[in-house]
């Protein structure tokens, strides 16, 4: 009897992961159908790729903030690294790889690699710090990445890539083209990004993050969040697992950045500033620290909300409504009475389900 229940037991984490995949797939399919029927306006359609990017950003930041438990305020920096390295990779491969989806995939991989390298370089010194200090230093690193890209000029001609800190020093040949022009950013980018690519990136992100958390390495990361001293005492290497979570988070942010960069014909480095980091952090906090599903929903809803409010009479008040919704969500999720009520309701529903199960089992 007990053996039977053991084999039948489906783990809660597995169920949660499957619900997340199903949710993303259903929303994607529904959106595609609605687009086919022309029920979605052009402005919203143009928001779909950024929504995917922000969902990936939020889920990956949740790995650092919610699951590892370290506050990082420089997540947009990795997005920036990914965006510009992805744009450069896509431009370089324009002739070599004619198929746009393949070029986009390669650009996203390159973006991920650059994000990851940035994660290692920043993570090694930064992860020795804790709490507020870590937050301050990640903030600084995010700004450093932005400022470095703002003074960087990168050009391409038949001799290869040229790097300079002034446009005049690029020394391009006549057929050469400047890809990145300092504060002007990257211009004339071929728009490769598509909603399907964003959807696939979300699925990959979910696959990586959810499988990681539900494995030996994930438990080690969770144990560092819950009690670092106890984790060390059972033989878990603090630096290794902190860095692992931080770098995986940076890789995913880099890939999201590449997708984001290739969605617009021009991208400037100042887009990925402190405000963007905070915006993504807001999604993570409102979705619930450590809750993957919360991050997905919060990122999708809050990215679309300002646009959805942009019609008719409420247009003038849309930022006001946005702010009120943010405050309400915060109040509701932190109110013990309301949360208790929700928990009770959930328990009651689960209790009904359980009763039915046991009755079924008795027969």
């Amino acid at each position: 009897m007990s053996g039977k229940t053991k084999t039948l037991r489906v783990r809660k984490t597995t169920v949660n992961a499957l619900i997340n995949y199903a949710m993303v797939i259903v929303v994607f399919a529904a959106t595609q159908i609605l687009i086919g029927q022309g029920a979605i306006s052009n402005t919203i359609q143009s928001m779909l790729v950024p929504v995917c990017c922000y969902v990936v950003m939020a889920v990956s930041l949740n790995l650092t903030v919610g699951i590892l438990g370290e506050l990082s305020l420089g997540h947009a920096g990795f997005m920036s690294l990914g965006a510009f390295s992805g744009i450069i990779a896509a431009t370089l491969l324009q002739d070599a790889v004619p198929a746009a989806p393949l070029r986009l995939a390669i650009a996203m991989v390159v973006g991920g690699v650059f994000g990851g390298v940035g994660g290692v370089i920043i993570g090694l010194p930064v992860l020795r710090l804790r709490g507020d200090y870590l937050a301050i230093v990640t903030l600084a690193f995010g700004e450093i990445i932005k400022n470095v890209i703002q003074v960087l000029y990168i050009g391409l001609d038949e001799n290869g890539l040229h790097f300079a800190t002034k446009e005049a020093n690029l020394a391009l040949s006549e057929t050469g083209k400047a890809i990145l022009k300092g504060p002007m950013g990257a211009t004339g980018v071929a728009k490769l990004a598509s909603f399907t690519a964003g959807f696939l990136l979300i699925l990959i992100t979910l696959f990586v993050v959810q499988n990681l958390v539900d494995s030996r390495a994930g438990r080690a990361i969770l144990s560092l969040r819950d009690n670092r001293i106890a984790a060390e005492s059972v033989g878990i290497s603090v630096t290794k697992y902190k860095l692992m979570a931080f770098v995986i988070s940076a890789v995913l942010a880099g890939a999201a950045g590449a997708l984001y960069g290739l969605n617009y014909s021009s991208t400037v480095a100042s887009k990925f500033d402190f405000n963007t980091s905070i915006l993504v952090l807001v999604y993570v906090v409102l979705g619930g620290l450590g809750s993957i599903r919360g991050s997905i929903i919060a990122a999708a809803v809050l990215t679309l909300l300002p646009e959805l409010l942009r019609n008719g009479a409420i247009n003038d008040y849309r930022m006001l409504i946005y702010a009120i919704i943010l405050i309400l969500v915060m109040l509701v999720t932190n109110n013990p009475t309301l949360r208790g009520g929700v928990d009770m309701a959930v328990k009651r529903i689960r209790g009904i389900g359980k009763k039915e199960q046991t009755e079924g089992g008795a027969q």
Partner: protein, 281 residues
């Protein structure tokens, strides 16, 4: 009510400590020489010498503030000892980190419970099994065969270890929601999961009632017998210490003031003075 545990014969080891006769042929699992640490101007532990036999249950007692917990923090390198050496199984632990010492064989529990309270009981034990059921990160992400094999192994081992304290039915509970006594027992299980050769228990009976303490005494002896490991414990419950500890070390003001068997310690005037004060006149 109190159960009699067999009393071993103890033999002295030069300059360090006494260890049970059955362990004398083997080198001690832990040997501390001239261990010491200061905090600011305060000498918390000074000239701490002791050896623990391979299967010994050793006790570390002393009045509050004697340096017992400091000593327990020195052994797994929570504090890097500025003076003295710690030899674990003949290896100097000087250059090791806490995590490395744990892998080398010292496991511990904490005076104020430190569980992964938001995780399940089973996950707590599985984290203890971290280095026993090891597989690489990508194997976990891509669900390679080693993931399934080692996860199954970890699951079975975790339930087996929990069954020592009859806690296998609590596996799915959140660790932080367990009653106090169960949390203490879970900490011991998690420490055992690391596969130690020396288990350090910091006040394992704190907050337990007499019947729970009696059960704990049986379990400590059972753990030693099943796993054939050395156990060193700090405890204020004298019934427990005198009942199961083979060699006892008494600390006061950071210094060892007595070593010996329970009988010797109970008769030692320095120990009586440390606990009760000097006789008048």
């Amino acid at each position: 009510m109190s159960k009699q545990y067999p009393k071993p014969k103890l033999v002295p080891v030069p300059s360090t400590n006494i260890i049970p006769e059955r362990d004398i042929d083997k080198s001690p699992i832990l040997e501390c020489r001239h261990l010491g640490i200061d905090f600011g101007g305060l000498t918390a532990v000074s000239d701490f010498n002791m050896a623990i036999g391979r299967t010994e249950i050793a006790g570390l007692i002393g009045p509050n503030g004697a340096g017992k917990t400091t000593d327990f923090n020195l052994l797994p390198k929570v504090y890097q000892p500025p003076r003295g050496t710690i030899m674990l199984d003949g290896r100097d632990t000087h250059s090791m980190t806490t995590a490395q010492v744990s892998r080398a064989g010292i496991a511990r529990t904490f005076q104020n419970i430190r569980l992964f309270s938001r995780l399940s009981v089973e996950d707590n034990v599985k984290i203890g099994l971290h280095n026993q059921a090891a597989y690489p990160m990508w194997s976990g992400i891509f669900r390679l065969p080693s993931y399934w094999k080692k996860e199954r192994m970890a699951h079975n081992l975790a339930l087996e270890l929990l069954s020592i304290f009859d806690m296998q039915d609590l596996a799915d509970h959140q660790a932080g929601s367990l009653p106090y006594g169960a949390q203490r027992r879970l900490e011991i299980v998690r420490a055992l999961a690391t596969g130690p050769s020396l288990l350090l228990l910091d006040e394992p009976a704190a907050g337990m009632n007499p019947s729970e303490t009696a059960e704990l005494m049986d379990n400590i002896v059972k753990i030693r017998d099943t796993f054939q490991i050395a156990i060193m414990l700090i405890e204020h419950d004298m019934n427990l210490v005198m009942g199961i500890c083979e060699g006892i070390c008494v600390l006061n003001f950071g210094k060892i003031i007595a070593k010996g068997t329970a009988e010797e310690i109970q008769a030692n005037p320095a120990v009586i003075e440390a606990y009760l004060g000097k006789k008048e006149g």
